[in-house]
Amino acid sequence: MSSTTARVAMPPARGLIPLPGSTRGLLIQVALLVAVIGLGWWFWSNAQANMAARGLQFGYGFLDRSAGIPIGESPIAYSPADTYRRALTVGLLNTLRVAIVGIALCTVLGILLGLARLSSNPLLRGLVGGYIEVIRNTPLVLQLVFWHAVLLQLPSVRQALNPLPGVFLSQRGVKIPALLAEPALYAFLAAALAGAIGWWLLLRRERARQVATGERRPTVLPGLAMLLGFPALSLAAGFVPTVEWPELAGFNFEGGLSLSPEFFALLIGLVVYTSAFIAEIVRAGIQSVHKGQWEAARALGLPPGRIMRLVILPQALRVIIPPLTSQYLNLTKNSSLAVVIGYPDLVSVANTSINQTGQAIEVISIFMAVYLLISLVTSALMNWYNSRVALLKER
């Protein structure tokens, strides 16, 4: 056989797996292929037999059937009469909602905690260090259940806590004032966006000028003026967004934006848990910059803020970005723990769908594909950002 000829042709000490192109390597790969296809075929035929025995057929046709799943909260219009497709979409949107808000909040909190961990104040350093260790070394499921229990111990709607005007905390969750989606709001947001873009253009022009002439001009004040001035102008022009305040009416609140205790517990749990990990990443990143860099920057006479921004951060970011990416992905994946406290995320809705339809393979394939897609998109975005940060270092 070909394997024996290959053995003769090769030097004696070639080992079990030789170089590619050789017959042995080819054989191993063919065996792997056969094993994978064979196992897949075996699984598939078993699955078909099992499904047939339960009166089911493989296919995604059930997606167009009415789901009959009551979902407590949904960013889009939904009723139990809607299809499974729509129910799963609602689940996905709920996952994305908690993931996006969570990522934004945990980044801010994580950076603050990481900086506090590096503070020159030993008391603050110690307290934050202890807090981070406790959070990092207890399971997230436990923390989620804990936050949920805490939120359910809040007073009833009629005795709702009112820490800030328009903000109500009760067993039914959190109520905050809402901005009505109408032309005035869009005009206001467009003006704010224009201000931000104006600041960015100004920064670009001034940086080019500094490179060309060495002259530095202030950018913060004119930038802020644009960022705040444009929306102010739009307000003055009569585009005043309507704020809807929550009000107690009967046994529940009316108006305003409502966050359920489940959403809130999940958000707090994810943010607290992930920010503790991000804090350690930020701390390690900043500490990874050599002491000499600080000293050199100080010797150049740079003020502390600019040392951080121009010298330390660009180098620290190279260390920070890759583990930060995996924390973002962890947060998104961990949001699937919503099922433990009853927040209707993708996995939770999918689980109910499986119980109702029995189409386990199809539903699981859908949500696994969705999570893989989210993971790939997030990694791609962060890799793109990482390559920009890395390039900055090259220059």
């Binding site: 000490a13 070639r14 080992g15 079990l16 797996i17 030789p18 170089l19 590619p20 390597g25 191993i28 790969q29 792997l32 292929l33 994978v36 699984f43 078993n46 699955a47 037999a49 099992n50 499904m51 025995a53 503070s119 020159s120 104040n121 030993p122 008391l123 603050l124 307290l127 260790e133 406790v134 990092r136 070394n137 207890t138 399971p139 997230l140 499921v141 436990l142 259940v145 804990f146 229990a149 992905l329 994946k333 961990n334 699937s336 723990l337 099922v339 433990v340 996995v347 689980n351 499986i354 386990a360 393979i361 699981i364 949500f367 696994m368 999570y371 893989l372 993971s375 790939l376």
Partner: protein, 358 residues
């Protein structure tokens, strides 16, 4: 505090002065210190009063409610239940023995002097022995279904068996991912990335719901085995990435030297590359294991009663309603002690394994 109470008097006072000086260096630091003290002032005394001063250590739910503080009597009452779950009462010596063996093996594994062939052999003997002890049906032991296993016992079983089964698989996956055979490399990469890209609970759902569908009719797989399949796969994928890091960190010269003395692939890996690659990544492996250990709590989603879920179930006891905070704090304390010990151990290893980097 007087200097006589501290063992190293002058050093202690010096450190205390340095601490205070650092706390009040400049107006900003003083403000931060005062803010921290304020937080402590508002948080610690009420917590102390609840957890210690007004707490009930002996008694029942009535005495707990009357005292108004923490009801540690509840935790005491449910302690053994949280360790053994629903395992038959008169057979509890079996999970107890299993835990003793497990702890002994884990402690032996943390001592560097024991690292080697005999330790591996010990695990290879202990792992099936522990399972047999729990399951029974041999040597006159009565048969106990895995459905009746529970509590801290099952948390330990999932974590340890997941690691024991997942670790060899992780090494194979990591080697496969760095193989020169394209199909093998793609296959291993796909497995690793797909498992790491989805949440563990979706793997658990898959094992719980899809695995039975994939088996021929009439074949049923024990639920705990299904959990272990999912958890092993998860452990393998995450550990594989750690091992791959170690393989990549090996200098090329090591590979070339092994080739030059004529070692084949497996001998090269077993004798030269893996011993070094695995040793340098041990701290990272311990850290990954801490994460995996915390993730054992996720089995709650498919109804396996691990330590935390068993405690939560105890909350439903009609004689002891209304003490969730105590149960959660106790659970958090147990996980914290275990995970913190592991992370300290990993930091310690990091220092001792690489003395040249210090």
């Amino acid at each position: 505090m007087s200097a006589t109470t501290a063992p190293a008097g002058p050093a202690f006072t010096e450190r205390a002065t340095a601490f205070l000086r650092a706390c009040f260096a400049g107006p900003v630091n003083s403000a931060i210190t005062l803010a921290c003290l304020a937080v402590l002032y508002f948080a610690v005394p009420p917590f102390w009063a609840w957890a210690v001063t007004n707490a009930t250590w002996n008694g029942n739910a009535e005495t707990c409610r009357a005292a108004g503080g923490a009801c540690w009597a509840f935790v005491r009452e449910k302690f053994w239940f949280s360790i053994f779950g629903l395992y038959p009462y008169e057979e509890r010596w079996r999970p107890a023995t299993m835990i003793v063996i497990l702890v002994a093996m884990v402690v032996a594994s943390t001592i560097r002097r024991f690292w080697g062939r005999w330790l591996l052999l010990g695990w290879a003997v202990a792992a099936p022995a522990m399972w047999l002890l729990m399951q029974g049906g041999v040597f006159g032991l009565s048969f106990v279904q895995t459905r009746q296993w529970g509590g801290l016992t099952i948390t330990g079983i999932i974590a340890v068996y997941g690691l024991a089964l997942g670790y060899p698989l992780a090494i194979l996956l990591a080697l496969g991912r760095r193989s020169e055979l394209p199909l093998l490399r793609w296959f291993c990469t796909a497995v690793i990335e797909c498992v790491r890209g989805v949440p563990l609970i979706s793997l658990l759902f898959m094992a719980a719901i899809m695995l039975p569908l994939f088996m021929p009719e009439g074949v049923t797989i024990d639920r705990l085995i299904r959990v272990l399949v999912a958890y092993t796969l998860f452990t393998a994928a995450y550990m594989a990435e750690v091992v791959r890091g170690g393989l990549q960190a090996m200098p090329r010269g090591q590979y070339e030297a092994a080739d030059a003395i004529g070692l084949g692939y497996w001998k090269k890996m077993r004798l030269v590359i893996l011993p070094q690659a695995l040793t340098v990544t041990i701290p990272a492996q311990v850290n990954t294991f801490i994460g995996l250990f915390k993730d054992t709590t996720l089995v709650v989603v498919i109804g396996v009663f691990d330590f935390f879920t068993t405690l939560r179930a105890a909350l439903g006891d009609p004689n002891w309603l209304g003490f969730p905070t105590e149960a959660y704090l106790f659970a958090a304390g147990v996980y914290f002690v275990l995970c913190f010990a592991m992370s300290r151990y990993s930091q310690n290893l990091e220092r001792t394994l690489r003395p040249e980097s210090r």
